[in-house]
Symmetry: C2
Subunit: 611 residues, 2 copies
């Protein structure tokens, strides 16, 4: 059995996690979204760091199904928290800068009112009399808590998985109370598959003969087998197949000798049995039913139209993170939320972090270098202090290598920035590390968004304070509405795109104008290379690659692009030809004398500039 | 709820499925692989079609966990079978041509000896005294059955999922008794994730208080909840997330009113409850434990080395099929078996069928046009009667469009076939519909294999009787050993490959020689196009595309390729330059006068042909 096969957030559970917890009770009746009420509600919470004088540095952390208020250690001697990697002095959610609040969920079993709490009207636990609560009810309780703490508006609310559901609810229902949202590994509603697993888990609990219709608190036997089965199913869904394989493939037939009454034939079996049995010791089956049901009922919509409507009021800053191997809350669901925000022109950055860790990734250190730093940068931007200085300068002057023809300065950037009207909204396709976009933003002062495929570049761009969406241009720009941007940039990317027509079509659908730049393959020295030497053209900078390893897979000249625009009914508003070797603009026979071209185009033929 | 949401193989279960079943009993002791024995074994089986005089037309169909001997209807009035789409007169497994046998598994509960059978030594059901049986034991029972039927060698054995495990066992243990194997949606062993689901399912059964340590046969209560939970988990894993979404997304909150005692809050919940409850009516919990354990213990190895060793004796013909959305038996597992067969030079064709149906795909009609026709063609090849005539002629003379420069005849094919020595083993990278490969096979009479990405082309190539592996060249040729082939072809594909160096490296690793053909971009008219007109070169045939939509993404000349070979230490044994417009071979300044080149190359500098 792999040494760390039993390490997980569970294995560091603490004997007395509530040492620093406080409670706040408000008397009811507390009316619930789906009807019913609670006579009073007690919230168990913990805080970290200090609320500043302006009371504008509070970050609310929402936990997932089985978490609690103990998000992090309060001091080195304290029990481990469930998100120690993220919360603490100097950490991504820096308790030296932010006042962090985390509270146990309504319906939970870690100090906040839940099915195991005493119903003051009967003097017995609520059990199955505990009403159906929603994520909205949970957030309402959190709102009362922050009011109690004297906070009018949160700097940020964050959470992963079902914690993300709460964060989404905060932002869509109470946008005035939230400056920013960081939603990790979450979704607008569960997939049918995820929902199905929850249903089976609840059936396992409720059909356990020891469930006693929920009134098992005073019984000798409890629905422990059902709850353990539920937890086992959960554990499988939290791990990616890759992670399971890494943990259990090599020693499959060597179960660990754990003191459990479940099957112990396989390493993965002893792991699951152990996790199931441990969970029963710390969790209440009725809370499991209550909380999973709230999650299953959570529904911000399915169609893009529904989602766009739901997210329309959520006018705060957004950071959305998904994980490539998360099959319980798959990345396409995060992307759907990104699309809904974009449709509403709400600022959002998105990264689909490459990870082998599955849904658990948001709790694990493996990919924290990306998603933790994204959170740090996002919070800094919210406070108006971008981490731009943290952006490493590019040493070789190649900018977004390998897409630069330039050696010293970005003369093309100078020209592009000039071409963009003040106040224009701008989308940059293939924005790289956001260098151009940051300059455009400085100039236009208006909404700018970048699209970039590379994870590291996305992080750098976010540090620079620009909104960037991690996506593949070849998949299209479906997030964006027709003519959503004044100007769409395609800077030195055209020649590296497979689906040229698709990308240009999309570009001119979502942009009133497009600015396209590319190297000119009919530049005289390149022509000569083929004509006289019989070899594929090659140069320096952007064209320094060999025919067999170049990122440039489209071979075109200025004349070719002019032909293309003619054939496709595109209007050329402006075209600038540069000779970057001589650092001059070319006006005479540019298709021969220029090595670089900038085109301003649009789809519909507007009034020509030079009749 | 979607109308067909409850349609599945289960919903067509028959009241009396065993109307045509026969039984065969052999007295023991029947010794089991892991120790223990059975005093006697009864096999319940059904047959279809007629065994021919040579007794060489028998196809054995192995069923998966919950199937039985009733693979298909015997007549139009008969109850539906579980694989009616595949087995019947004129169908892929044509009962007009083949003698089809299907038997209930050892350990099952549909007529063959299993835990519910009476133990003759006690006069009571075996229950948990039924010994642990393996897939090997199941196959041993099947062998005794076919001996009883007077069959020495099966034409083919086939099965999906755990049925595939049995087929693999037949071929690896008893290769002399099998001419061909068709293994669908299967694996050399379960993934850790799939194994984990089985463990949870067994825990749900065995920890059901009504399990009574397995002796529930005479009890009033049986472990029905546990078995139903197990089946619900199974159902989730058989469906892809896409299929679940299609079935349950739109009416999520509208459960069907089914008479079950499970949660009925969501459409998917009522579906699962219904499936679980129905399963309990027809299946025995002890059989479920026995059969899943056999599947979980099944293990042909994990490392490529282990697998190569296991498959070494399996010298028959193979067809392996996986389904893109199958996450229970994911495609990479099928590919691992393909690799193991290739490592042993065992003939295999492989298709990873594009499907939304998940693991269930092999039981469903949705993708049968591909995998059914693959089976039909494979069986015809086994009988020595390829379906080549069924291959549609290509109407426009473009061969494997869009990779042909030629208009009338494949003059390049003529030359390539000439270049291949008699008896050479040949691998064709990007073999398309197998046209070249079929010609090569006719000439070399030896082992030829193709690699092709396109599903439809793979099917055509299999119909032609050549072995073809569906794969992406850019992923490399890891299946193949160093110098495994005398000759590797890369015909008109080089210019469409992104990772040129990687593919050529791999090509010359697995081939003693490589034959590379490509269009020459330094052909005089193409040079002129750039030099004089300043436009990207374009021609007819292979070069008929525009710069923005061409599949050709690498721009190279004959001189470039010569330079490349020099730089990379490749030896050029032979080079032939053609002018396909004039239909002549070019000897004077080919880089200017030829539009097409054929190179014979190898990695190590061997004795030069022309010193």
């Amino acid at each position: 059995m792999a040494e760390n096969a039993f390490d997980s957030s569970d294995s560091v559970r603490h004997a007395n996690p509530l040492r620093y917890a406080q409670t706040f009770t408000f008397d009811g009746p507390f009316h619930l979204e789906l009807g019913g009420q609670l006579p009073s509600v007690t919230v168990c919470y913990e805080t970290y760091g200090k609320l500043n004088a302006a009371r504008d540095n509070a970050v609310f952390v929402c936990h997932a199904i089985s978490g609690d208020s103990h998000v992090a250690q309060h001091d080195p001697g304290d029990d481990p928290g469930w998100w120690d990697i993220a919360v603490g002095p100097g950490k991504a959610i820096d308790t030296g800068r932010y006042f962090v609040v985390c509270a146990n969920l309504l319906g939970g079993c870690r100090g906040t009112t839940g099915p195991g709490s005493i119903n003051p009207e009967t003097g017995k636990p609520y059990a199955r009399d505990f009403p159906t609560v929603t994520v909205g009810d949970m957030v309402e309780v959190q709102r009362r808590l922050i009011a109690h703490l004297g906070i009018k508006k949160l700097l940020a609310v964050t959470g992963g998985s079902m914690g993300g559901h709460q964060a989404l609810t905060w932002a869509t229902r109470f946008p005035d109370q939230v400056a920013g949202v960081m939603a990790l590994a979450t979704s607008p509603r569960l997939t049918s598959q995820a929902l199905a697993f929850d249903v089976v888990a609840r059936n396992a609990i409720m059909r356990d003969p020891h469930y006693h219709a929920g009134q098992y608190y005073d019984k000798k036997t409890k629905p422990e087998v059902g709850l353990a089965i539920a937890r086992m199913i959960g554990h499988i869904t939290y791990l990616s197949p890759e992670a399971m394989s890494q943990k259990f493939e090599t020693d499959r037939f060597q179960p660990r000798d754990v003191p459990v009454e479940f099957e112990k034939k396989f390493s993965v079996g002893s792991y699951l049995g152990y996790q199931g049995q441990k969970f029963v010791e710390r969790f209440d089956a009725n809370s499991y039913l209550t909380i999973t049901m709230a999650m299953d009922l959570f529904d911000l919509g399915t169609t893009p139209q529904d989602l766009a409507k739901t997210f329309a009021p959520a006018r705060c800053q957004w950071l959305i993170v998904s994980y490539t191997s998360d099959w319980l809350f798959p990345p396409f669901q995060s992307r759907a939320m990104v699309d809904a925000l974009i449709a509403n022109n709400i600022p959002v950055s998105y990264s689909n972090v490459r990870s082998d860790c599955g849904h658990d990734a948001f709790l694990l250190p493996d990919n924290f270098a990306t998603y933790g730093e994204l959170m740090r940068a996002f919070l800094a931007n919210l406070r108006g202090a971008p981490l731009e200085n943290a952006v490493q300068p590019v040493p070789d002057g190649l900018g977004n290598a390998p897409t630069s023809i330039f050696h010293k300065r970005r003369v093309d950037y100078d020209r592009i920035v000039e071409l963009i009207p003040d106040g224009a909204t701008v989308l940059d396709l293939g924005c790289g590390r956001g260098g151009l976009l940051a300059r455009v933003k400085k100039k236009s002062g208006h909404r700018v968004v970048g699209i970039e495929l590379k994870e590291a570049s996305v992080l750098t761009a976010v540090r620079r304070g620009v909104d960037v969406i991690q996506a593949d241009l070849n998949d299209g720009l479906r997030s964006f509405a027709d003519k959503q941007f004044d100007c769409v940039l395609l800077s030195q990317t055209l020649q590296a795109i497979y689906d040229v027509e698709g990308v240009l079509n999309e570009m001119l659908r979502v942009g009133k104008q497009g600015i396209v730049t590319f190297p000119n393959m009919a530049y005289e020295p390149l022509r000569r290379m083929l004509a006289d030497e019989g070899r594929a053209p090659k140069s320096t900078g952007l064209l320094r690659h060999e025919w067999y390893n170049s990122p440039n897979i489209r071979f075109l000249s200025i004349a070719d692009f002019e032909d293309f625009c003619r054939a496709k009914g595109l209007h050329i508003h402006r075209q600038i030809a540069l000779n970057t070797e001589k650092d001059i603009e070319v006006t005479s026979d540019p298709n021969r004398h220029a090595d670089f071209a900038i085109f301003v185009i649009s789809r519909q033929a507007e009034a020509k500039q030079n009749p």
